[in-house]
């Protein structure tokens, strides 16, 4: 039987995993659904097709890289031109330049995508337009002497970002929107917590809750194939938030009488003095997580591991806020130990969730953080125990071993994914 030629028009459609296909075709052959020759033809056809897809994907990547580089060059040039002549440009002209840049970039992006179907190049222009909008806010703010440390400016930047991201299906703009939103919340939290030393743990706790809510929102996108790419920035950034904060809090230097964080007694809290906006963030993150979990459950797409992936960090956030801040330990050992147990639990939890839900990203993320945690612990502890030369040699051997071990674990896990048909 002669293999048919692949259909080039369907190259954009999702491709089956070759490992999965090979296993399935062998099963069909065993079940005598297809003959040995037909099985061979199917695999040959898909192999050829996969090769063409690989080439096309490669070209797509190059286009993406080239257009992004071009866009960044254009943006940097414009910025330099405007910056070097800024003082000589009248106020209203500066506003006009800012507006024209934002409109031109986004209109070009729209035209490229919907009139000429140059998706990769259009994505670059749309992203640049989104960045230019933020830049315009700060440039106009600078022109009129707005206080640029006011979080409201970041909020103004954030508001149209996510609607725009969904409208043009841009994960990059979604990621930008989430990060700008984080900035707005972070700035506001810093303002609310300024001068209130008894609230040291609030910042970390609140951001873990926000990270969990963002991750849960990311899971919500998995219900529809077309929305899945839009969920990835939420899952990535949300998971990273939780891990980064837990990792940062796992160092002993944070705690104790000379540390940055000082656990305080619950009775010293004045909950009525918590600013309204802070309650909005905490309750908003909590409700978002609950509603997302309920929707996933209703759709039947909330598996227990996913629920654990949402619930465990959420509980962790509250523990940080309540447990650590409520106790007044005599030494820094208790909060230090709690933070490390939480980090270890989160890393193991993420690996388990990643394996059970076949999310390679979660497994890789956890392994990377585990590696970083081990390396930094070694530097922290080993540096003081041995001399420089010995600690470097021992460290080198340990790290090579660690890298080998991690690679081995990763390979084992990923080969299981392949057998199970990971997406």
């Amino acid at each position: 039987m002669t293999p048919r030629q692949p259909n080039f028009e369907t190259l954009d459609s999702p491709q089956p995993d070759p490992g999965w296909l090979r296993n399935r075709v062998r099963e069909w052959e065993s079940a005598e659904i297809v003959t040995h020759e037909q099985a061979g033809s199917i695999l040959e056809f898909e192999k050829e097709r996969a090769g063409v897809v690989e080439q096309a994907v490669g070209v797509h990547r190059i286009i993406g890289i080239v257009s992004t580089f071009g866009g960044l060059l254009l943006g940097a040039g414009l910025l330099l031109f405007v910056a070097s002549n800024w003082a000589d440009i009248p106020r209203l002209a500066r506003v006009a330049i800012a507006v024209a840049t934002v409109v031109a970039l986004q209109a070009t992006g729209y035209w490229l995508r919907y009139r000429t179907a140059y998706h990769r190049t259009s994505a670059t222009f749309l992203l640049l337009g989104a960045i230019a909008y933020g830049g315009a806010i700060f440039l106009v703010g600078q022109t009129y002497n707005y206080p640029l440390d006011d979080p409201s400016l970041l909020l103004l930047w954030f508001l149209p970002m996510l609607p725009m991201a969904y409208l043009v299906r841009s994960p990059a703009i979604a990621a930008l929107g989430i990060l700008v939103g984080y900035g707005a919340v972070g700035y506001r939290l810093a303002e609310w917590l300024d001068g209130r030393r008894t609230w040291d743990y609030w910042w970390q706790g609140v951001f873990i809750l926000v990270g969990v809510a963002v991750t849960a929102l990311g899971y919500l996108h998995n219900g529809r194939q077309t929305l899945r790419p839009m969920g990835r920035p939420f899952q990535w950034i949300g998971s990273m938030t939780v891990l980064v904060i837990l990792y940062a809090m796992s160092f002993e230097g944070w705690y104790g009488p000379y540390g940055i964080l000082r656990p305080v007694g619950l009775r010293r809290w004045a909950l009525e003095a918590v600013p309204f906006g802070m309650w909005v963030v905490i309750v908003g993150a909590f409700v978002t997580t609950l509603v997302s979990a309920a929707l996933l459950r209703q759709r039947g797409t909330l598996h227990r591991p996913q629920l654990a992936g949402i619930a465990v960090p959420a509980i962790t956030g509250y523990m940080l806020v309540v447990l650590l801040a409520a106790e007044r330990p005599r030494s820094s050992l208790l909060p230090f130990a709690i933070a490390n147990v939480l980090l270890f639990g989160a890393l193991v939890g993420f690996v388990v969730v990643g394996i059970l839900t076949r999310h390679e990203v979660l497994v890789n993320l956890s392994l990377v953080f585990f590696g970083i945690a081990v390396i930094t612990r070694y530097i922290e502890i080993g540096g003081g125990m041995f001399g420089t030369a010995v600690s470097m040699m021992v460290g080198g051997v340990l790290f090579i071993g660690l890298a080998w071990g991690l690679e081995r674990v990763r390979r084992t896990l990923l080969s299981r994914f392949e057998l199970a048909g990971a997406t």
Partner: protein
């Protein structure tokens, strides 16, 4: 893209344009009301921040004031609260605090809206959104080294102030004019 999608796209770009133009228009309208100018005494410093370019951080005499003699007390407000500070012209043409309350009073001629940043023993620290003045790169030091720096502020009907220009050692200093 569907017609609704096109309309949404145009709408979202329009929102961005409105935000940028709105930010400028709000301040422009205040700057064009010459009758409401006040001159404030400052003590400048000059930090540098890569993200924000060069700017002068301004601190005013009215940034900290005692609560005796004004309506508001330290127990009435906490950091983050909005306050209104009435101004009266003092010696040298500098405007100083004459009263302060959580809402503007009908009898006040000119007042600034501010945010409480600190509450001390019988005094309040207030920021008015006038604490940064952006200057062309390298020119901030000229302000810092000056003997006397005043800021002329235009105030709108709601008490929002906009820096019109600086007066450095008695000379109007506006690097963008």
């Amino acid at each position: 893209m569907t017609r609704l999608g096109r309309m949404l796209f145009v709408g979202l770009v329009a929102v961005q344009v409105l935000v940028i133009v709105g930010m400028a228009a709000g301040r422009e309208s205040t700057l064009r009301q010459e009758a409401t100018d006040v001159k404030l005494q400052t003590v400048p410093v000059d930090p540098r921040d890569l993200f924000r370019g060069d700017y002068v951080v301004l601190r005013y005499e009215i940034s900290t004031f005692p609560t005796d003699g004004v309506r508001i007390t330290t127990s009435d407000v906490s950091p983050g609260a909005t306050v209104y500070v009435a101004l009266m012209e003092g010696p040298g043409g500098h405007w100083t605090v004459s009263d302060a309350a959580t809402a503007p009073s009908a009898g006040w001629d000119r007042y600034l809206r501010g945010t409480v940043t600190g509450v001390g023993q019988g005094r309040l620290d207030v920021e008015y959104g006038l604490e940064q003045y952006f200057v062309p790169e390298g020119e901030g030091l000229a302000v810092e080294r000056a003997f006397d720096v005043d800021v002329v502020v235009a105030i709108d009907d709601a008490g929002r102030g906009v820096i019109r220009h600086l007066v450095v050692d008695g000379e109007v200093w506006d690097p963008y004019q």
